[in-house]
Chain length 186, copies 4
């Protein structure tokens, strides 16, 4: 896989959300320069910094200090002032309110949906990143139970295509699954 | 296909660039709140308004007044002040300079690469939207001839996944091709 | 979707198994001219006739007479003498033994795995056609419980590619999901 | 990628045609127990032996003796009596006539289409295996010029799907391109 230029300078610690999924999260949540975003868990911070580049402010929660350190490096590499990295547990508490977007990438993320709902403004969007189909089911059921609407699940296959003198074709191998993306609206 | 919420209120005239491709353009070009973007041709303006929501300013060129009228409606629906719709031909002239991004979605777009190169800052990105493989080849060869670097082509398959009581599965049918996306850097 | 020539003359009643999935069943089970195959349920008989064209004999079970009538028409269209259409319930009984292949395309097909196991020779293959992920899980667990080995699940995306004067590209839309195929060995 | 059981015992020399493509060739050409098949070039013989298992006779042409030796091993492993491996050049001559199927997997295979046409019965099928899009265009144009009908191109993405206690999902990476398959009829 060829990485977009902006991501090549970033550090990679724990499994990152790839640019293909970040792009679809941007387009499908409609995040904009006015948006306040909440992100959990931070991990290496690829999604957090990507959101920070296009939104008003991002608050990103992470439980583990060693991951936060990687994300902090990435924040500095891109010179972002509007990204607040927070050591904290969204299962227990999300401090912000009236957010436009909450993104969840962590185990058992359905348990954070109550706090996410409380943190969002009416009409705000939620995006879940879920590797397994069983997680998708649990997450969608919890979304509906929590009062979210328009739950919608997609998977993104981005295939690299070689353009060379000897001929054009897709690459032979590539990443054809990372996670299902689930979107819904408060 | 389920449309993201933000796009459901927009008008559709000529063939639009779908959110799946818009998202990948956002992530792969690294557009940000600081970015100046140039877009041609406008068409219904879906890409132009999507860029305007996350960047500093977008200048979008279109040859046909009836398309511009649709794009103007979409600009107003989203209340965007930082999108300038221009009746003009990028084959002849691009007035802006030091742009961070040029996006090209039109026939023979390779003929605009000279003007696009002139309009971009060093390190600025270009994104081409090209339905056919032959166009991809012509475009990539012209990119290289013009002095762009890192040309990279992808295709995006976004598959909707149903989560229902009767079971989970991808939808049976869907859009599995719109266009190849070609990215490069000045 | 463009149908292969051989299938264009066949009748379609209930949902058929498409040639893309039939092809993968042929290759992944390794059916040959020596093979004895058992198929349930028959439906329109597309899989049954496809198997009969390349194997020694096919016994195909169906519960509903109106489906059997369609399959019988398809059997005659192709002039197949080695396909026996049987009105019967594989949940209750499979009469044949020492079969090389059992294919299952019906609701709750995991309940037929005991009889399928009994009908197969040692080393014989089983193929399940399952639209939903939950069915896949149930089926694979039942396969393992029954003593089958090497359970392996795939999905097949066959994308049509247009080659025309105006340019080459995949078709815009198409069938990107029918069912998951699960294979295992006795 | 998990290989079907039947292929696991075969030798691999030069790049083989994978079972996913073999399966689609079987289904889309409608090869049957009555069919006479011509195959070129043999390579490791995976397609040749797969065809031989389900058809009357296969004649497979190869230019290089070291490849023929691998194919001969595979023929013996499967105990096939109805596969004739021939050292020969199909650009110059195909000795058989009234064949039901010709499969072509080699550089410049369009140059063999005249001889392939001569070798096929009326209504016989041809299948080309072509890695690059430019080859597809050349091949399809040559098919039409030669008088073949119904030219149709597909690509096959077979995605492995994991079913495990920790959850179900597609594998992360895999083979998402081997070659385009082109089918046509005399």
């Amino acid at each position: 896989m060829v990485y977009p230029h902006i991501y090549r300078k970033l550090k990679r610690g724990p499994q990152v959300i790839l640019p293909k999924d970040i792009g679809i999260i941007l387009a499908y949540t409609g995040v904009s320069k006015e948006s306040i975003c909440i992100d959990a868990g931070t991990g290496s911070g690829w999604l957090a910094v990507s959101l920070a580049r296009v939104s008003r402010h991002v608050y990103s929660y992470e439980l583990r200090e060693e991951f936060m350190a990687i994300a902090e490096k990435n924040r500095k590499i891109l010179g972002l002032e509007n990204l607040t990295l927070k050591l904290g547990n969204v299962f227990e508490r999300i401090e912000e309110t009236d957010a436009d977007l909450v993104t969840l990438d962590m185990s058992n993320s359905e348990r954070a949906l109550g706090n996410a709902y409380g943190a969002l403004r009416q009409g705000g969007m939620i995006a879940g990143y879920l590797p397994h189909t069983e997680q998708v089911k649990t997450f969608v059921e919890a979304l509906n139970a929590q009062g979210f609407s328009d739950a919608h699940t997609v998977e993104v296959i981005l295939r690299d295509f070689l353009v060379r003198k000897e001929g054009m074709r897709p690459t032979n191998m590539g990443v054809w699954h990372t996670a299902y993306l689930v979107f819904a609206r408060k």
